[in-house]
């Protein structure tokens, strides 16, 4: 199923449901409420893709890279493992536990590997994360019939073709404990029913679930290619993940600055800003204009310490946020938040382009959720 189908040369279009839940203290909870929440938005998906990302699920291997890989056949697995052996010390390798589940058919072979880069293969100067990215790109581009769909530390992505609640049951997610969970239900309009095409999309610790269609996809992709990212999936989501990785990890921008690039304020708004702020916005937009995400989207971007919600600058797709004590929610719709948390009262709708940033307290150093100050993009006159 993987063989030959990946490169159909265009993005695919999908409408979707997204849901994210995080405990700001880092306390663990299982996947059950996630399955309940995403199932509540069933009419936003059509059974052609669902998935989850969970952070904190592999504490026994917390510092190792974990690859989740799907294979067409044993030959693809052998070829991939040969490559992995040449680049990494494999601390553990096993089939990802699944159960037979109605609505989930013809799964590929699903394996996970806990890895550490070989010291000899990692050149002195090289950032180990870059090394991992290159390895992921190598397998996904060069090894026909194999696809790495998760490559972070102490986190994992579980996804496939089916309704998200069925995919959750298939992967036995109620047995995992994590402190950030995100989920996605997909409504693609031209899918080939490929498991790798489901969300979340992941690279290193970043994972992205996404509702929308990026009209700027063609140029976002070509810009990222200049920096060595091979977009093999042809989903908009992939470019968001790579864009975030480039801006935050490689270029060292803060999350609010990243949001200023992906959902940049209008020039007319920038022109009205105080001088210093205006200069920052101008330079970011001049430099990263090719990464502006145009068209309708709402996304939840997460890493090991943050869960970030963002909509396009004219807010063409829905996004709602909620907070109850240590729990933070970001969702396409409000109902599922109340369904799994009947004491939730504090909910709000972010403005277009305004990021919602939930950060682990130990990292943020403050009790408050960091709500980035309004960065301007919002409040567009959509008369």
């Amino acid at each position: 199923m993987l063989k030959g189908v990946r490169f159909h040369g265009d993005k695919d279009f999908s409408g979707c449901s997204i849901f994210g839940m995080m405990n700001l203290k880092g306390d663990m909870f299982d996947g059950e409420p996630m399955i309940t929440a995403i199932a509540n938005m069933k009419d936003r998906s059509n059974g052609l893709g669902g998935g989850f990302a969970a952070y904190g699920i592999y504490p026994q291997y917390a510092e190792l890279i974990c690859f989740h890989v799907m294979f067409d056949d044993q030959a693809a697995r052998r070829e991939t493992e040969e490559f992995l052996k040449s680049s990494f010390v494999i601390h553990a390798a096993e089939a990802i536990p699944t159960r037979a589940c109605e609505g989930v058919e013809d799964p590929p072979l699903l394996w996970r590997y806990f890895l550490e880069p070989h010291e000899i293969t990692l050149c002195e100067e090289e950032d180990p994360d870059d090394f991992v990215v290159k390895a992921v790109m190598h397998i996904n581009v060069r090894v026909d019939g194999a696809f790495v769909f998760s490559s972070g530390r102490n986190m994992g992505v579980f996804k496939g073709v089916g309704f998200p609640e069925d995919i959750g049951r298939f992967f036995r997610l109620e047995e995992y404990q994590g402190y950030i969970w995100v989920a996605h239900g997909r409504f693609p309009t031209n899918t080939q029913g490929w498991w790798g095409g489901a969300h979340p999309f992941n690279i290193l610790d970043w994972s992205v679930v996404h509702n929308g269609e990026i009209s700027s996809y063609g140029i976002n992709l070509r810009y990222l290619e200049m920096f060595g990212y091979a977009c093999t999936l042809h989903t908009d989501t992939e470019v968001i993940a790579y864009a975030v990785d480039l801006l935050v990890r490689r270029h060292g921008l803060s999350v609010p600055d990243m949001a200023r690039v992906l959902a940049a304020p209008l020039w007319t708004e920038i022109d009205r800003m105080p001088a210093e702020e205006k200069e920052i916005h101008t330079v970011l937009r001049q430099t990263y204009g090719s990464l502006l995400l145009n068209g309708p989207f709402s996304v939840i971007i997460s890493n090991r310490s943050q869960m970030i919600g963002l909509t396009d600058r004219i807010r063409l797709r829905p996004l709602v946020a909620g907070r109850n004590g240590d729990f933070m929610y970001i969702s396409s719709e409000e109902a599922p938040m109340h369904l799994i948390d009947d004491t939730l009262k504090d909910t709000w709708i972010p403005r277009g382009g305004e990021p919602i940033v939930a950060e682990l307290e130990e990292v943020a150093g403050v009790v408050e959720v960091v709500e980035a100050e309004a960065i301007g993009a919002a409040g567009m006159d959509t008369a």
Binding site: K11, I219, E225, M226, G252, S254, R285, Q286, S290, N294
Partner: protein, 503 residues
């Protein structure tokens, strides 16, 4: 010597409509029409007619029809009338065939084989009348990344950008020199660029002092003849452009005949009045890429690193590799001029047979710069046959940051593309230095017509962008997924980097 060339046009005059006002006679600088008092009739010598339609346009009673002469040489696919006429002309004169404007041969126009996308269902289209739509574009080198640092707990920029040109619409007026066109035409371009928030280009003929006040919207060109290049000229410009080549005549220089070098032109170009202004084919201080780098840095140094420097080349076979070298040599803007690019005068054989279509050159250059990871280090501006807002938006989607328009701007001012610019007899007051002719172009009217044209184009661009669900031009730049080819071969599609319609 008796000429064997048949008149290219026939003029039919409706005697019932003709009121003997003699407008046609007065307007034609080629002396086609004359009034005979004795017979009280207007006559025409069609052998002199260039088909510029000035007479027919101004005739108050529409008494004139100018149409191609149906008498042609014997039908022959090889030996067409045009071919025979060229041979007769050279047999009669022994000279090089001259022409004006851009190549008129029917090489494929790829713009007309490319179609645009629009949003349906999965992505809402955006109505530019109700929602913001951004066309602002910055030309100049962009860094690989933006670095920030903390200052008193607040983030401040560590990165500073090199000088940028801000364009409110991604369309500029191409290089057309004072000399090739009249002062009034130059003034119209300068004023329109200022009003539109874009730029015009002086071409290689220097800049008249009276136009210095539009300097903030002026790109001053430095060409192989170095005409009119001096400290003030460099200082007053918003940006500088080194002209290596021109799409209408790649590989050769220029020649402004002495008759056109009036007192004003002599002063502006800094050459004696009445002498021919000859631009050498190459810059004699640029025989290779490292010499280009020296000139780029000399110009930057001379202008205190305050202005972006563009380098303009004709689109030729290996433009991609050349462009890569130009970027590495420090060019902030790469200007590419395709085979359909215009000129005031060029040898016909060169205009019509040297160079490549701009669409292919643009795609190849954009691809190459991306492959090398240096696309951000220079902006790409394309020229040569941009006829409409649709051509502009397709060029941007193929990878251009902005376009130059030359012919379209002249047409807006009245040009009818008769291709006789080199005669200096332009009846429309554009490509002439004759004061009697050039005063026909009122700069006030010229400015208005240019502003109207680009205002119309920018509305159309906004509509097309909105239709694609895009509200900022940078999201279309290089976004070739929004293009499809129609009736192109696989090889053409591969070079353009687009898919065929239906796939």
């Amino acid at each position: 010597m008796k000429t064997y060339i048949l008149p290219q046009y026939l003029i039919e005059r409706d005697d019932y409509r003709c009121i003997r006002c003699e407008v046609c006679a007065r307007q034609c600088a080629f002396d086609v029409h004359w009034y005979d008092e004795e017979e009280d009739a207007v006559f025409a010598d069609e052998s002199k007619c260039v088909g510029c339609l000035r007479c027919a346009t101004l005739c108050p009673t529409h008494a004139l029809v100018v149409r191609p002469n149906p008498t042609s040489t014997p039908e022959n696919a090889n030996w067409t009338t045009q071919v025979l006429h060229n041979i007769y002309k050279q047999a009669e004169t022994g000279g090089v065939l001259l022409t004006g404007m851009g190549c008129d041969k029917d090489y494929p126009i790829y713009w007309d084989r490319i179609v645009l996308d629009a949003s349906q269902v999965t992505n809402p289209s955006i109505d530019p009348l109700r929602e913001p739509m951004e066309l602002r574009t910055y030309l100049g080198a962009k860094p690989d990344k933006v670095e920030m640092r903390e200052k008193k707990g607040k983030p401040v920029l560590k990165t500073t950008l090199t000088p940028q040109l801000r364009l409110d619409i991604p369309i500029m007026f191409s290089a057309i020199s004072y000399g090739a066109i009249s002062y009034n035409a130059c003034e119209s371009l300068a004023r329109a660029a200022t009003e539109l928030g874009t730029f015009y280009n002086t071409g290689e003929g220097g800049l008249h002092r009276n136009l210095y006040k539009y300097g903030d919207h002026t790109i001053c060109q430095v060409a192989s003849g170095r005409f009119g290049v001096h400290a003030d000229y460099l200082e007053v410009a918003a940006a500088l452009e080194i002209k290596i080549g021109q799409g209408a005549k790649p590989g050769i220089g220029g020649h402004l005949p002495g008759e056109k070098v009036s007192a004003e032109i002599s002063r502006t170009r800094m050459i004696p009045k009445g002498t021919d202004a000859l631009s050498p084919a190459p810059h004699h201080d640029i025989y290779s890429i490292e010499d280009l780098a020296q000139l780029i840095y000399a110009l930057k140094e001379a202008t205190h690193w305050e202005k972006p420097v563009s380098v303009k080349i004709a689109a030729v076979h290996n433009s991609a590799a050349i462009a890569s070298g130009m970027v590495r040599a420090g060019a902030d803007i790469i200007a590419l001029d395709g085979i359909r690019g215009g000129t005031g005068a060029a040898p016909t054989m060169i205009r019509d047979n040297v160079g490549i279509p701009i669409e292919l050159a643009l795609a190849a250059v954009d691809d190459r710069l991306r492959e090398e990871g240096i696309r951000n280090r220079a902006s790409i501006v394309v020229a040569g046959g941009i006829r409409s807002s649709a051509d502009v938006i397709k060029a941007i989607a193929l990878g251009a940051d902005a376009v130059y328009i030359g012919t379209a701007a002249l047409v807006a001012m009245g040009c009818h593309v008769c291709q006789k610019c080199y005669t200096g007899n332009c009846n429309w007051g554009i490509a002439t230095q004759d004061p009697y002719l050039s005063k026909r172009l009122n700069p006030e009217v010229g400015t208005r017509r240019l502003v109207n044209l680009l205002t119309g184009w920018s509305h159309e661009i906004m509509e097309m962008l909105g239709g694609m669900g895009i509200n900022a031009i940078e999201s279309l730049r290089g976004n070739r997924l929004r293009l499809r080819g129609v009736g192109l071969t696989q090889e053409e599609l591969d070079i353009l980097g687009i898919k065929h319609a239906g796939s």
